[in-house]
Symmetry: C2
Amino acid sequence: MDESTPAPAEAAPRMHIGDIAEATGLSQRTIRHYDEVGLLPATTRSEGGFRIYTPADLARMLVIRSMKPLGFTLEEMGSLLDTVDTLAGDPQNAPARALLADYLQRATEKRNKLALNLERADKFIEDLRGR
Amino acid sequence: MDESTPAPAEAAPRMHIGDIAEATGLSQRTIRHYDEVGLLPATTRSEGGFRIYTPADLARMLVIRSMKPLGFTLEEMGSLLDTVDTLAGDPQNAPARALLADYLQRATEKRNKLALNLERADKFIEDLRGR
DNA sequence: ATTCAAACTTACCTTAACGTAAGGGTAGAG
DNA sequence: CTCTACCCTTACGTTAAGGTAAGTTTGAAT
């Protein structure tokens, strides 16, 4: 078993799916789904098959959590994350730059829609209070 | 044809589905769906089968539009609207009162979640801008 | 080492809320 | 009557979950 265990030099905390669910507020079912569709694969698995996540995985999941209410599809979210990764390694990558700009615009539009929805919700609630 | 036309005493504007779609920003498909499931039936139909909506229908649709981003199911939205109708005619109706209070609480919680999502979205966008 | 409860897995099924496509009818202006 | 914009229905598909059941794994406690 020792021969097959990764080097313990990796001191990063390892988390199970329950930990991620608690940290993000997403359901385990959702997180498994994201693994299955490739949006956020677990970094690795225990010998018994448990998903094992790293802090980087958690960070990525938190980004996903931010994008989700904006209405991006799972595929779009994956694509954007890949794009950001690409730019981290190659800031001059023109196609990635263009894609990022596109996402930024759409995110802004969707954000504005979200703000509008919030405004409408507040009016709705206020109206309901008067009943 | 004149004999079969409703009395022109009804001066309320009549709208087709396209008008409602434009006024609300919802898709025609969505509006038809709401008719089919009974959430917002068209008041009537033309002889040719076209859905005909009234301003009251439109007002109801706008309420639905406010609730939708809060994540209520179609059934819940219908139920709340019925409850509000009940209370309009019978403000002392205890079960309706209780139900309204329940919906109000849930709407407030969901509103708060929406506000949190907006906050997260803003941070996400700001982060994206720095890339 | 053993036990055990909590946590996890897979696989299959279901669901809500539409979107899309195909084919056809309606309404009203000209 | 023609024509164009609009509308209809039906049926199938899509997306993103959620539920459930049966079986396995994990790790702390003893």
